[in-house]
Symmetry: C2
Subunit: 456 residues, 2 copies
């Protein structure tokens, strides 16, 4: 066991049994216009993290205009009546701060980190672009090239990203998770000013947003400030509870094979549809998180030992995407060493999973996973932005502060039986898709034409 694992265990042991000093006291309230506010005091340094989370993401892209949520995130850095195009980030930089934005299937978030005295100014800027964005034809067209280039570089230029996109398309039969957040290229290419404007009008409103202020502030300071600034924005009565198309029952085992001349070593991916923190029954997500760690979280994990330890693979691990609104995804990745086939490593992966299904994990594995994950949470809690993200995301997905705060306790309570139960419920072949990325078998192929009707 390496030094860092001991460290994790030690930190973990310190934590068992109660809230630690590092866990902040988070409060939340609503403004008169129904905007949710979350305050996370952290008085160690005189800086603040300011975030606005919209309860909208790629999952809300209308069918045929995939990528519009992400495109709008880019366009939010254009002009308003008060602000020139591109000025938002320049102001933050001039204030000595940093800013960024992100779009997932489930949320769109904007964040800035500035010295405390600039909080008001940042709020003014963010509140302004929530409702006063100007969408100008020329700027929209120019920015569309930016997102298309982003896709070319990050997805089309990366066989593993392409394969992952195809796996999602095969795994989710009906749910919007089957589409990439960036969008399909052919649909991105015709996203219009009108598409962005409709989306903005429908989803950008105080009553569809969560404000997070973390740092050297108190709820008593934040409330009047937020009311004075964000309180000016009128709620949109059309904002409704989020209801997305759901998948039919999972009955068939799926496989996807991508041949790509740019592929390095062959690679195996396996995705399982599992619940997320927001969609799971109480304790289930924590069990999946522990199980994922035991199966592939570090180099003492089962897949690592069976595959890397046995010199069959150079990489083997697992990962739990637990942040979705409607569900999560447990992913395995294995890169075999030269001379070992994908079939061979897949058989070992299957055997490793089958063993857990049959016999569960050991108490020692469970204890180690609990310690490691609890330590990870503590380390994260030391980072203002990570904390702000934890609560902003959770609240944006409809979770309560109490529910978010109860996760560590729920994780501590998980038993061997709980883990075996979630393994049995969710690590089923018919809930999975298996992907392989390989060099083309034959000579280089020509590119194929697009799907239906594009053939015309």
């Amino acid at each position: 066991m390496k030094h860092r694992h001991w460290a994790l265990v030690v930190v973990g042991l310190l934590l068992v049994g109660g809230r630690t000093a590092a866990e902040p006291v988070v409060s939340t309230f609503k403004l008169a216009n129904d905007m949710q506010v979350v305050v996370i005091p952290d008085h160690r340094v005189p800086v603040v993290t300011h975030m606005v989370w919209y309860r909208v993401g790629g999952g809300e892209d209308p069918w045929g205009t995939s990528g519009i949520a992400h495109f709008l995130e880019h366009l939010m850095f254009k002009s308003t009546g008060k602000m020139k195009s591109g000025e938002f980030s320049r102001i933050i930089t001039r204030l000595g701060g940093r800013d960024n934005a992100a779009t997932t299937h489930d949320t769109t978030s904007y964040f800035q980190r500035v010295a405390k005295e600039h909080l008001r100014e940042v709020m003014e800027l963010e509140a302004d672009r929530m409702v006063n964005l100007r969408l100008i034809e020329d700027e929209v067209r120019t920015e569309r090239n930016v997102i298309l280039e982003e896709r070319r570089t990050n997805v089309d230029g990366n066989p593993l990203s392409l394969l992952s996109e195809q796996l999602n398309a095969a795994l989710y039969e009906n749910h919007p998770y089957h589409r990439p957040v960036l969008g399909w290229a052919h649909e991105m290419a015709s996203l219009s000013r009108q598409d962005a404007a409709s989306f903005y009008k429908r989803y950008y409103a105080p009553n569809n947003a969560v404000l997070v202020v973390a740092g050297d502030v108190t709820p008593e300071e934040v409330r009047p400030l937020a009311q004075a600034i964000y309180g000016r924005n009128k709620p949109n009565p059309a904002v409704a509870r989020r209801v997305r198309p759901m998948d039919p029952p999972d009955i068939a085992v799926r496989r996807v094979r991508l041949e790509d001349a740019r592929a390095g070593a062959p690679m195996l991916l396996r995705y399982y549809k599992v619940p997320s923190y927001a969609s799971a029954a109480a304790g289930e997500a924590e069990s999946i998180e522990l199980l994922t760690w035991i199966l592939g979280g570090d180099d003492t994990s089962r897949t690592y030992r069976r595959l890397v330890g046995e010199q069959l693979a150079s990489t083997a691990g697992s990962n739990y995407e637990s942040d979705g609104l409607d569900g999560g995804r447990l992913a395995f990745v294995v890169i075999p060493v030269p001379g070992v086939t994908l079939e061979r490593v897949e058989a070992v992966l299957d055997a490793t999973i089958a063993e857990v299904l049959a016999n569960g994990v050991t108490q020692q594995e469970l204890d180690r996973a609990k310690s490691a994950l609890e330590a990870q949470r503590v380390f994260e809690s030391d980072n203002q932005a990570t904390l702000a993200r934890r609560y902003g995301l959770g609240v944006a997905l409809g979770r309560s502060i109490a529910d978010i705060d109860a996760a560590p306790a729920r994780m501590r309570e998980r038993t061997l039986a709980d883990l075996q139960r979630v393994a049995g419920s969710f690590l089923r072949p018919e809930r999975s898709v298996t992907g392989s990325l390989v060099q083309p078998a034959a000579a280089k192929r020509e590119p194929t034409s697009p799907g239906p009707a594009a053939a015309k």
Copy 2:
């Protein structure tokens, strides 16, 4: 060569070089309200086939309400101001006629066959329900149970249908062909009166319909009658050119495996995304149709000889779904004989296809296929309902009468090179999905829970 093949060849030879007596002279015109009318004279018996084709189908189901186009087809047999629920079919029966209706991804059609003297009455009934349908809450709820039962019997009760649904879901990444026309059960269960009413209002209008009258009539008789009856219905200005979400480029090879205790013999399906008559470049669909016949059309076909002939399979054949608006599907099915694995028959299928890709087909095969398909068309042309369907469907999908009539000539002109070209363009692994239906390997599994969020 068996007797019936000789017959086909003989009929085929008779046809080469010109239009036959069996091919009707079809005319088309529009009413003042933009309703398209197609008249197909056939004076051999004093009956008429009356059809209305709407340019809407499951492909227009809004995301999350799959099955609504088909549901509305059922509801069209409920009441209007003039007609009681269920009366439509009772009247047709009383007139000594027959009626039916059908929904595909691309069209919804209603047809009746009656003695010529009842044409006016049938038109009155059909024109009435085009715009005056009453959707009553109780009746909607009752009929919803009917479609749910239809799905349970025809799809959920049939592992091959279930597998086919899963194959479509995997093959079409974004296009609405990925969803079943019947709908996903969980979405069908909440289809509402309001869903049906919105769909009806948007898509049922004379300017979104094609009227076909085939039989003992002339265009001169039909035009004033149609204008007097259907001409009363106002066009809907919101009817627009059909634009559906399209698939991204096909880059990955897909596989789907369904284990089902009700499966009989194991079965292999292979679907390729190919163009349809409506979406293809001129001649391409005809080439695919010939190629499909040569590969698996009858018991002299390549797959039949290599698989059934070699006693590896009890069934082997192919089928071309050529009727789609945005694309078609070339399907292979193989049922191995006991003792032969799916892997073995799949390898033979792959080798059979690879041989065509490498060397094309023979002139003798092409000539036989042309004769067989031309004979098939002639036999079909002898059936009034089949003829009416051919033109009604074609015009509903935007094809001209001239284009439909030119298909036999285009088919006669196809060359060996044409067939090899479409094989090379479309029989590519990355345009395909392969499905296997097998008995469960292990003991019987419990049913799984639905996809994301339904887990909640």
